[in-house]
């Protein structure tokens, strides 16, 4: 019997089915579980109340990231509730025997940065975390998706989840990316094309020359924002770029095991002739650096574009959404994006706070300075990224330019700690969400790439990085 051609997604899915119920719901085995302080306390509490244990503590890795201060860490956390949440996680990992990177551990960082960095994330795995940007790990050809707290508890107790298979979508970006255009621009352009609900119910596989040419950092940026297109997971087939990145990482397989694993990983890519429920093809040459104007990641235009006019929208619901967004963002229809001045720059988040992102920022900045009146912060994705950037001289370039160089964490991506926008402040941000209030009450967020954020920091306005590079 010859097997019919399968997609990468189908291969991972079928190798993890423990049991299939009659209606198609599957008990799916979960290989790796990442845990952070915000979405886990109620799950551990549930275990305790039911007298359950963690089934596979060794498949679980915990870190604090959302709540931790990115300034001085020699003192306890000042905000009571944040401190209690961190202390609760510390008590839970002790009680249940889970490996944990605490606030003063060099390996601490954003959960989706540290998993890959440690070699905890590997191709062909199922990976979950109580966080929607778990899609990031799909860059390795792993099926990785965010779950709610009840599911966190379910995975802790059973190492499985109850799920039905998703639909499959392939997005192919043909040809090489033009100069000055990055993975972030590619994914923003994709979300602009499919809309924030376009991927609902799907797992997206990214393919094509422009995707294959990306580094692991770039691939993580793309998969990270799959959820902004409504898809729970994004995938990129593993290849030599992937294997090179993994080799030698602390938790990655070693020696003979590594060779065996690579041989298996090479069988994972989608077979020729496999079919997808939906196919989308874009041309890389059509993509320019992108920037958002509104309060949804789909509200995106090329930097050469203008703020849209709600009057051009026929659907009343959509028109109201645009009007509301323009009002919130303090923007007028027809304004050129490059005429928009900014107050703050945030370089960070699980989308763009890896070493390559910081290199790119330093390259654009060079010997220039942050514009006067602009506050620009850099929050490395992990302690190890921070140390490497310091070693490579990136930190020095950025500090000389006037950037605030901080400790790792989620920081102003969501403003749960003290890093927030003030009402009315406008921010050029390398993060992933421009929702109302996301970066601070009444704060205004423009999403863009690290290179574009660097350009905005230098000029004090949204700027086409290709013009100043």
């Amino acid at each position: 019997m010859t097997l019919s051609p399968q997609t990468l997604y189908e291969k991972i899915w079928s190798s993890h089915v423990v049991k299939k119920h009659e209606d198609g719901t599957c008990v799916l085995y979960i290989d790796r579980h990442l845990v952070h302080e915000v979405t886990s306390p109620q799950a551990f509490e549930g275990l305790r109340m039911a007298g359950r244990r963690v089934r596979q503590p060794a498949a679980t890795l915990a870190v604090v990231d959302h709540n931790v201060p990115t300034s001085d860490r020699s003192q306890p956390i000042r905000e009571d509730e944040s401190r209690i949440q961190v202390e609760t996680l510390e008590a839970n990992v002790k009680e249940f025997g889970i490996e944990y990177f605490g606030m003063r551990d060099k390996r601490q960082g954003i959960v989706h940065v540290i998993g890959p960095e440690q070699g905890f994330t590997l191709p062909g795995m199922t990976i979950v975390c109580g966080d929607s940007h778990t899609s990031t790990h799909g860059a390795f050809g792993a099926l990785a998706f965010g779950i709610g707290t009840s599911e966190v508890e379910h995975v802790l107790a059973t190492q499985t989840l109850l799920l039905k298979p998703a639909k499959t979508m392939r997005i192919t970006v043909e040809g090489p990316l033009p100069t000055g255009v990055t993975a972030k621009d590619m994914i923003l352009a994709i979300i602009g094309t499919i809309g924030t609900a376009g991927g609902t119910g799907y797992v997206i596989e990214y393919a094509g020359e422009a995707v294959r040419a990306l580094s692991m950092e770039g691939r993580m940026t793309m998969c990270n924002m799959s959820i902004e297109g409504g898809a729970r997971a994004g995938l990129i087939a593993p290849d030599d770029t992937t294997f090179r990145y993994i080799k030698g990482r602390p938790m990655a397989p070693k020696g003979d095991d590594f060779e065996k694993a690579v041989a298996y990983w090479r069988t994972l890519p989608t077979d020729a002739g496999a079919s997808f429920d939906r196919e989308i093809v874009l041309k890389a040459a059509d993509i320019a650096p992108q920037v958002t104007w509104g309060t949804s990641p789909q509200d995106v235009v090329p930097i050469t574009g203008t703020v849209p006019n709600p009057a051009d929208e026929a659907d009343a619901g959509k028109r109201a959404a645009i009007e509301r967004a323009l009002d919130y963002m303090g923007l007028k229809a027809g304004t050129k994006m490059t005429d928009v001045s900014i107050d703050k720059v945030f370089i960070g988040s699980c989308t763009n706070a890896r070493i390559e992102d910081l290199r790119e920022v330093a390259k654009v900045v060079g010997k220039r300075k942050v514009a006067s009146g602009v506050y620009a912060m850099v929050v490395p994705g992990s302690g190890l990224v921070k140390a490497q950037a310091e070693e490579e001289g990136i930190a020095a370039v950025l500090k000389d330019a006037g950037f605030d160089w901080r400790e790792p964490g989620c920081s102003m991506c969501l403003g749960m700690n003290e890093d927030r926008l003030n009402p009315g402040e406008r921010c050029a941000s390398t993060s992933n969400r421009n929702f109302e209030g996301r970066q601070g009450y009444k704060g205004r967020t423009h999403l863009l790439s690290p290179a574009m954020a660097a350009a905005a920091a230098i000029t004090g306005k949204l700027t086409d990085v290709r013009e100043i590079a």
Binding site: V27, E45, I147, A197, A320
Partner: protein, 200 residues
């Protein structure tokens, strides 16, 4: 978990698309270690002034809708962050059912885990229910999970829901307990996996 069978209640109209979980429960309220008590922060930034005073225009502040147990919204409800605090906050406020043309996946799944029933209907039916809830706030809407029907006056809209989810909701079943009935299968899978993929 409370079973969900038939709910007849006031329905509050929220005619917005892409209501995200940051709106439903902003991050400053995620620093809790409990599941309860979030109802007073539900839709906080839309519901209250910075001073803490209620915004009289927001639907859940209007006398007719203060006791709403059903929420009617537009496309892509619950998008964004995976925070289960969103259904917890809705539930704690008293909302057991959201009716919308479409839901974001994670929010949709999270609702079931909390005994809540997200009902998906064609957009034009949702807009009809929205209009009705706006014009006749005192006339309750019925969500009947047994019959898989939404009824409001002479409007009767059938809906479908995944049979497994429906079974769990109707009987108030807890997923973990169900899965642990297959513990033998999980152990067998783990043994097989160890042989096939020893590096894991």
């Amino acid at each position: 978990m409370h079973p969900f069978k038939i709910l007849t209640a006031v329905a509050a109209p929220l005619p917005m698309m892409n209501v995200d979980t940051d709106m439903i429960i902003p991050k400053q309220f995620l620093r809790t270690i409990k599941r309860t008590g979030l109802g007073k922060y539900l839709f906080s930034e839309m519901r209250y002034e910075a001073s803490g005073a209620e915004k009289p225009d927001f639907v859940l502040n209007k006398p007719a809708y203060r006791r709403a147990e059903i929420l009617i919204a537009d496309e892509n409800f619950g998008c964004g962050s995976s925070r289960e605090h969103a259904p917890w906050a809705l539930n704690d406020f008293g909302i057991r059912c959201v009716i919308a043309p479409s839901f974001a996946d994670i929010f949709h799944g999270n609702s079931f885990k909390n005994g809540m029933c997200p009902v998906k209907l064609p957009r034009e039916q949702v807009l009809q229910l929205m209009a009705r809830a706006t014009d006749y706030p005192d006339q309750p809407i019925t969500v009947d999970l047994e019959a898989q029907e939404v009824r409001a006056g002479n409007l009767v809209f059938p809906f479908t829901i995944d049979p497994f989810r429906r079974h769990c909701l109707l009987n108030g079943l807890d997923d973990i307990g169900l899965t642990l009935q297959h513990e033998g299968d999980i152990t067998a899978f783990e043994t097989k996996r160890k042989n096939e993929r020893p590096w894991l």
